[in-house]
Amino acid sequence: MAMHESIFDYSRYRYLWVSMVLSLGSIVAYLWHDPIGEPNGGSWLGYTLGTIGALLILWLLWFGIRKRSYKSRVGTMRGWLSAHVYLGTSLILIAFLHSGFQVGWNIHTLALVLMLVVIFSGFFGVYTYVRYPAIMTRNRDSATRQSLLDEIAELDAQALQLADTVDPKVHAAVLRSIERTEIGGSFITLLRPGDETDNALDQVKTFMEQRDKPAAGAPKKDMSTMFAMVDFLSAGSADAKSDALRKLLDTLARKRSLTDRITRDLQVQALMEIWLYIHVPLSMALLAALTAHVFSVFFYW
């Protein structure tokens, strides 16, 4: 029956077995092989492993095309990804055995380095795929991103309404915070988000403190420019105003927690995607370096 199967245990670890057989076979052949001189890419085993490695790279690159062939009936995406991960991992071994562990400052090693960067960025991708989905689910708590944004917009409206009943300065502070609230943006802002709501919260809190102890000395200098003291002493309006202030604080705090959640959501999604910006372009570079490597080997040999 149909069950959720991850890319690791797909089809009872089929591709883990395939890649283990491939790796072990390569190791055994490498140990058994007795080349003339140092083990290198020029021996018959070197050529064989090189061919296998190059074909593997081409096949791994084909994943990008298969992913976009939505009507393709060649396996499922899950099978392809499972194979992509396991066989891609075994490529590290095959490449080193192919070269006989020789490195240098040349085009051949450039191809190797690019390949390793691509593979290790893939490892990071696998790590994010394992780690972040559950975190994202918990953080979302069944809400959609749109519903979170809608709620924030609603809280903003409420906050403005409340601030309006309190004081023009508070209103201005809340408005500025709303105008400056930015959700999302570049990867860098996503990974190190700031929160404008904090400023508004701080200011409203300070304002409250100022209000609560008007007799306790003169207001701080910067605050006195921020909030001119208004007449809160007429009892009725003061009560209504403190009520509104409390509500305003609740609203801002709630908004703060929502923006936190949504920022976290975007951050996690960014982490699950960011590695692709290394993985995919460098794989294209790898293709170019690989072509140069193969060409130079045959041309200059």
Binding site: M1, M3, Y70, S142
Partner: protein, 802 residues
Amino acid sequence: MAERFQIAIVGSGPGGLSAAAHAAELGISHVLLEAEPHLSNTIYRYQKGKHVMDEPGILPLRSPLEFKAGTREAILGAWNDGVARLSVNVKHGHEVSKITAQPGGGFLVECANKAQMIADRVVLGIGLQGNIRKLGVPGEDLPIVQYTLDDPGAFSGETIVVVGAGDAAIENALALAKQNTVIVINRRDEFARAKEGNLRGILKAIEEGTIQCYYNTGPEKVEALNVGRKKGRLVLQTPQGRAQILIDRIIARLGASAPRGFVEGCGVKFPSKDPSAVPAISPQYESNVPGLYIVGALAGYPLIKQAMNQGYEVVEYILGRKVEPADEPLLRDRLKNVPNFRSVDAFIGDIQRNVPLLAQITPLQLREFLLDSEIHAPKPGATVFAKNDYTNTFFSIVEGEVEVVVDAAQNRRIKLKRGEFFGEMGLISGRRRAATVLAGPGAILIETPRRSMNRLIQSVEAVKREIDKVFIARALQSRFTPESPIERLNEVVESARIVQFKAGDIVFNEGDPGDCVHLIRRGSLTISRQIGGKDVVLSYVAAGNYVGEMALLGDSRRSATVRAAIASETIRVEGEAFKRLIQRDPILRARLQAEYSARTASNLAMQQMPAGGDIISFLIAQGAGEATDILLIDEALCVRCDNCEKACAETHGGTSRLDREAGPTFANVHVPTSCRHCEHPHCMKDCPPDAIHRAPNGEVYIADNCIGCGNCERNCPYGVIHLAAKPPKKPGLLSWLMFGAGPGPGEAPYDPKAGKSSEKKAVKCDMCKDLKGGPACVRACPTGAAIRIGPEEFRAYARNRS
């Protein structure tokens, strides 16, 4: 003295309009009575620019008025021109309130505006929409009072009073409140009729002060003002006394009065209380009241072209002429493969003689029935349908016989002969076919689609009774004693009756005395026990299975509580009769005991992991109880790449039919907004061209003859159907990759508007029935998060995840 006409036509919809036009064309004295100031109110109220289709395409049009697929404006324009050209005698603002047969023949037609007239014959073409209820106070017809709202965005900065407390009123009020001052007038003290979401919305708006609401308040009068800034004044009666509001506009959404009461008031009889029942009419469209004719949707013909043809024909019939019905050539064509075919009428005669079930219905209904149906004359031995197919058509045997393969392993077969029917199990339970049926010698079969059959069952009580009787006997036999003859079951069948449950109703409680067995015939049930004060769901039982046998076999009291997961029907068999059957039948006893111990073991296993029960409860709460195949996403695996949506869009003309993100999640099980292919699909309920079908593998899909009316979109409780236009074609993979031509695979079209035409059709998941290898969403999921499962797998699924 009231004016006298030969024909009075009530309602200017396609049927009435066509009848009036034909009468005018022939120069017969006639009158067309229309309540509204315009013609064809139902179509008039379509949104602007809506594309109206002309299904069924094969049916020729017979009417002096033009009709072909096009925009609402073009069609209404053509009709208005036609009515003017033929000088049809239309009387607008005449809402007919009463039609009485006169002793000397003819009818007295009375209108709400006190106008009266006498007509020899009356044609009712009032459709099913009903008349919009008006304010019922002076000024209700002023231009500032409107009863519909096409585009809330068209008004801004106005003071608008919305009268009404239903969903339409609330939706209008909320939409208008964005840029207007809105006041809601509610006659009662709460919004009792509103949907949950609307209720929350309006109460919140009232609390926040964006909408003002007067409860227990009714309008007294509306007046137009010539001076001042506001266009009018509304006087209200509030509990505190009289009040007045200066307003720009009143929008009254008070619903419509269903036409049935009025029609019954004219003496027309309906065959059953079911709201979908239509009055029985003769082949000449005459009702049980002589001289009173019914055409169009009210008579059960919801398509525009059908109604227009009937309007034409009814006038011909009234004049005593014989017209070959418009469907005659179609029927002839449909029947041409029948061996020894002579004429349509002769074949209809054969059916009425040979098939007792269909002898109950009128020849007109039978024609319609045949038009919807397929006639088969299969070779002996050919498969009519195979076991486990998901089809839900109904078969009647006109000639010859068929064989039902009861037990494929032992090749045991039952013969069904001329006049009998089969396929009722799939029709009623909405589940897979229970057995394979093979054609016998000389078989001529009528295969009727689900909708036509259901309409027949609802309209003709005798048909329903007969089918239920046979269903009970066959269902009990196939479930309990497939190896012995049906007569053995007589006592049990006698004691059995059909019981209906609403979702959440209790079938029986833990600890009740066990006095009966329930065989589920449609819907599904959950089995739960009280453990530590909490209701723990142990199991989920789908249609075709039984509950309650435990108490009859072992303990005498119920060991668990059984609830209906969705609206369900069971066959209730009396305990005593069932016990005697078990005693007589040792094979049955052994089998029941085996199933009993398997169930007890599985219940015990489930009891030990209550998390599994919670998952089942969660799935049931999401409506999975009526699903046949549901998309589930494991959110611990889902990397939110949306490849499922992209694959869906790419394989289905550019529009994704699933929304991955939306929908609830429990214990990392996410139920996205995606079709569940319900056992009894809500979308099929009211599809005028009958375009929604179920394929043999269970896929519910929309065929190309969709007219884009949006009924399915409204009827689907899961929001998985929407109307979409075909987007522009995308470039191939290589020309995108190499030359950057157009949007690439999985990307949204650059300019979605480029493909936007008014011709929108309903789209929904078809489980990729035309692609080999299964649904693209599941196949495209790179991490194995998305799967599709059927309800029979819920238990194993829940156990696996807990």
